[in-house]
């Protein structure tokens, strides 16, 4: 397999991983919740994306509009984050183990919801992945859809950075993340900030899932598989760091791409070798703040 293929395949996977990991980081950074259900949001986006594209086909929309349909579907179903955040609010001030148990419970419950609504057989989507044709890069032809998803992910990364660094709401979010009590003492309704952050985090996951489904399939296992990879990203990049999510996703995506090309049976092992190395050499991750 050509080098360009490996790099672009890895970057495509990294783009999707970044979206989910960014959601995970945002929620942890502000709400201090390690959300194991992030994988479920990803799977939910994938399943709902299939339904939405099915509806778009029914309406006679041209295939070129399927990508915006998928993005819209991901954003729309991401609103499920609002009621879930209310549910999680009961464990905000409790021990982390409650949060892990509750979000793990959600992961399992979602799996049954998927089975009930979409069935146990993996669902695929035809006609979208190649609808955008191919592009030639350094003599290798690659699906243009992959490039569009990579670009979309970079746009999201830039928009998220601008939102957090440059907008009033973004700065209020950062202040709440750093010291919730003081933010409330300055008039911030932290519950509203939490609802906003969790819903945005959820949308990042659902959009990620909706974007990946044309290239693969929506299946019951995809939630857990992604949780495993997302946590690798977070450990490598550093818990709570957006820059860490970007770099971590790139490392995991490229390692996975290389492993699949040269030694498919080493796919997870190769990623977790990096995770173990980071945990030993730099426990806070590449961009994480060391514990004080």
């Amino acid at each position: 397999m050509a080098f360009v293929d490996i790099v672009l395949g890895g970057a495509f996977h990294a783009a999707i991983l970044f979206l989910v990991a960014a959601g995970l980081q945002l929620v942890f950074g502000v709400q201090k919740i390690v959300n194991l259900a992030c994988g479920s949001f990803y799977a939910l986006g994938a399943y709902f994306g299939i339904t939405a594209v099915g509806a778009a086909v029914g309406l006679g929309l041209p295939p070129l509009l399927f990508l915006p349909v998928l993005i819209l579907a991901g954003l729309l179903i991401g609103l499920v984050g609002l009621p879930i955040e209310r549910l999680l609010s009961v464990v905000y001030r409790r021990d982390e183990s409650y949060q892990l148990l509750l979000t793990f419970g959600l992961l399992l419950m979602f799996q049954d919801v998927f089975r009930f609504v979409w069935g146990a057989t993996p669902r695929t989507m035809d006609g979208v992945y190649m609808a955008y044709g191919t592009a030639e890069i350094l003599g290798t032809r690659v699906p243009a859809y992959n490039l569009l998803v990579i670009a979309a992910s970079l746009v999201v990364a830039a928009a998220l950075g601008l939102f957090l660094q440059r907008t009033k709401t973004g700065r209020i979010v950062r202040a709440t993340a750093e010291n919730r009590d003081m933010a409330e003492g300055l008039g911030v309704n932290a519950s509203r900030i939490f609802a906003l952050v969790f819903t945005v985090g959820c949308m990042l996951g659902t959009v990620g899932g909706a974007l990946v489904v044309p290239s693969s399939a929506a299946s019951l296992e995809m939630a857990v598989e992604l949780v495993v990879e997302s946590f690798a990203v977070v450990v490598i990049g550093g818990l709570g760091s957006m820059r860490g999510a970007l770099v971590g996703a790139l490392i995991v995506g490229l390692m996975r791409g290389a492993a699949i090309s040269f030694m498919p049976e080493m796919e997870l092992l190769s990623i977790y070798i990096v995770v173990v190395a980071v945990l030993i050499l730099r426990p806070a991750g590449l961009f994480g703040k060391p514990a004080t």
Binding site: A177, G185, L186, V188
Partner: protein
Amino acid sequence: MLQLTDLKVDIQGSRILNGISLSVAAGELVCLIGRNGAGKTTTFRSIMGYRRPSAGRIAFDGAEITGLPTWRIAQSGVGFAPEESEVYADLTVAENIELSTWTRPKGRPAATRIEEAYAVFPKLKQYLARGGAQLSGGERKMVSIARALTLDPKLLLLDEPFEGLSPAIIPLIAEGVASIRAMGKGVLMAESNVHHVPDYVDRLYVLERGELMFAGTLAEAHRDRGVMRVIAGDAEAMA
């Protein structure tokens, strides 16, 4: 404007405040004096809604605020500068100070409020782009008070504004408190050192082991040996 009536607060089964009643009228500067652990910070945190009282009531501006969430109390016009300053390390000085105009946009224009805050602590203009983590203790204190001021409050709670500061910086903070008082804002200030209490203070309350042992003027406090023993140490009281 602020009225605490028979306030009782328990923390982990221990009574920390036992029947505190105090008031601050509009434009008054009132000091709450007591040794470390007397309950000053607990009083402030209860007013701000961080701690729920076991009994008693807190009223502000004619409305009961007991049990309200902290953000609502802040939104009603109570500015709080905590003892540890709690300046945001991740934000610049300018952002820290502007923050309160975003969280409480109602009221006077943001630019006026910000200008007023810098007029109280002109030194801060030198550090606008500096991160909150790169400030000295005194600078953090100034940012914390300025940030509470840009909320455009009717009442400011200043928890030990002079605590842990170098003697060189104390006059700057004292001048700032005087400017705030001159603006006509009500101020309730906690202090453990009677020497930091400005002589223009309207009233002071002395807190000892969760109970108020004195309420009166600074001159009356100076005449009361028992009070001076608590707030200035035994040797000075005997002198």
